[in-house]
Amino acid sequence: MPKKSVGQFNIDFIQILNEAGEADPSLLPHFTEKEIRQFYESMVFARLFDEKALNLQRQGRLGTYASIRGQEAVQIGAGLALQASDWWFPAFRDIGISMMRGLPGKNLFLYWAGDERGNAIPPGQNDFPIAIPVGTHIPHAVGAAWGAKIKKDPIAVLVTFGDGATSKGDFHEGMNMAGVFSLPVVFLCQNNQWAISVPRARQTASQTLAQKAIAYGFPGIQVDGNDIFGMVQTTKEALEKARRGGGPTFIEAVTYRMSDHTTADDASRYRSPEEVKGWEGKDPILRLKIYMEKTKIWTPAFEEEVARNSMNRVLNAVTEYEAMPPVDPGEIFDYVFEKPTPDLIEQKQNLLSPPKE
């Protein structure tokens, strides 16, 4: 056998709901009308919340903020697919999933206002705080999945990250370990085409990101990330497989960052308005609305109710956020270790009651 093939691999792309709001009947799972309304409402809420955050930032009521506009289907889809007992490890552009997981909106505002209390995930919510150093949370998710496997907990772990994160060594080392130990973890890459100013094609030469899973010996799949049906379904299947002991899956969700990278960024410096415009037509909310119209699930009254409810929730979160008492400076020392070390006790004391001169 002088020259022979020793490996053949294929990468699939899934799209259930296309840009025109048409669903492929051969792939469409049975979603109830109620479920579909929930998809819609959750996406609208995420968008309104996001817009509010941008607004607060402009008014100086919030610090730097990273918008999720355009990525609502990925995030709501993944959020819906997760079960409460699953664990989730977020990147920094993930408020959609955060809110599906039950994180109070106030926490999100606090965090982006530079207040660590925002990272204090409520008890019972199995989520990690946001990872700012890109991709570094991927091994954590792998470790938690490993923990679940060792403890025989029938849960799955989800980790979300961007296209940029796939270039980091942490991605590689985490993916590789997940493969070797066949861990119950789903890697969900939100390929929003940009890592700040670096376009996807400059991030890696691989045709798809999904094919990166081939390097680790487990399945990779590409999904239309603006298709809520495809997102819910693919993520759900992957999580179920993980819970069943079927090992890891890598999902590349093809989507687009409609906004600047963060409020500190100006995307017009590096990308064309045409490109952005092109993606507007692929909007995840719009296409679901068209589908709902076609299938008579959408009504103006429903839209109005969704808008009203969502806005109320958003405004409540703002109120709660702005009603937070200021942080106690002494807290700086309180969570470094379970028991503060002598030097921390001394520094805290000096801060709170400086030695009299």
Partner: protein, 324 residues
């Protein structure tokens, strides 16, 4: 000449060095089209082209690792790490390779690499964007560490860093990127390893670098009203350290305070105090004090000013020292 901010002065030094030496290559995340998230590399892509101003993937290990290879191959890479807090994944490349290439090869190869990175607090940035971990690099044999505190120094020191045949970590105090404007004082490189007396005084020596120089100067102004003349030393280069200037100031004042943003424990304040007591114990009228960050991670913006040295904290330490 027009007045420049610190970040503009860096931009100027980069373009001057790229002009001077075609081997100088700028690389990093968003340094090209975007001109860097702080605009330090603005215009360089247009001027010098995509082969010399390289937008890289999100890959700190890869950036530093590849820069080492480029440097050994004969280029002079100036690699930007977007924030000092993101350099840690490249520590192995820095400690085990960049800093050792000359030693390991008995001089057959060397590594003329500059790593530029914004550092320090006070910019209301998200987590991990306000680190001051210069002590890690000071402790690392084989790499120089430079921190400018004025636009002119930024330009002159960066030129020297780029011309230096060995690796240099060039820390840019993000907090004062735009807060000071200054006319450039000549366009010569400023030699590495020479501290600057930012303010003369006879009563006490304040030793600082980066943004803390300005904090120390404010404190010096404050105590002046009480007739206390504080000398402020801007170290400019942390390694090699200009211990000569530190010691002669201490011999004059008999009192010293080191100010830094990094956590107190294991920070450079300890090193400097140790050197002073070793070489000038008999001149000391009081212990050398350290005004530094707490032994905690630097808090998020809401609390960072509590954490960081302030003129008030320095002033309190001055009185404590004088009353000893």
């Amino acid at each position: 000449m027009e007045k420049l901010t610190l970040v503009q002065a860096i931009n100027l030094a980069l373009s001057e060095e790229m002009e001077r030496d075609p081997g100088v290559v700028v690389m990093g995340e968003d340094v090209g089209k975007d001109g860097g998230v702080f605009r330090a590399t603005l215009g360089l892509l247009d001027r010098f082209g995509g082969e010399r101003v390289i937008d890289t993937p999100l890959s700190e290990t890869g950036i530093i690792g590849a820069a080492i290879g480029m440097a050994a191959y004969g280029l002079t890479p100036v690699a930007e790490i977007q924030f000092l807090g993101f350099i840690y994944s490249a520590m192995e490349q820095i400690i085990s390779h960049a800093a050792r290439l000359r030693t390991r090869t008995k001089g057959r190869y060397h590594c003329p690499l500059v790593i530029r990175t914004p550092y320090g607090g006070g910019i209301h940035a998200p987590e991990h964007h306000s680190e001051s971990s210069e002590a890690y690099f000071y402790h690392t044999p084989g790499i120089k560490v430079v921190v400018p505190s004025t636009p002119s120094d930024a330009r002159g020191l960066l030129k020297s860093a780029i011309r230096d045949p060995d690796p240099v970590l060039f820390l840019e105090p993000a907090r004062i990127y735009r807060s000071i404007k200054e006319e450039m004082k000549g366009d010569d490189p400023i030699p590495l390893g020479e501290a600057r007396i930012a303010r003369s005084g006879k009563d006490i020596t304040l030793i600082a670098w980066g943004a803390m120089v300005h904090t120390a100067l404010k404190s010096a102004e404050a105590v002046k009203k009480e007739g206390i003349e504080a000398e402020v030393i801007d170290l400019r280069t942390l390694y090699p350290m200009d211990t000569g200037k530190i010691l002669s100031s201490i011999e004059k004042t008999g009192r010293g305070i080191v100010v830094h943003e990094a956590p107190l424990k294991g920070g450079l304040g300890g090193e400097i105090a140790a050197i002073i007591q070793e070489k000038a114990l008999l001149y000391l009228e009081a212990p050398v004090l350290r005004v530094a960050g707490f032994n905690t991670p630097i808090p998020l913006p809401k609390m960072e000013q509590v954490y960081l040295p302030s003129p008030e904290k320095i002033t309190a330490a001055i009185y404590q020292t004088l009353r000893y």
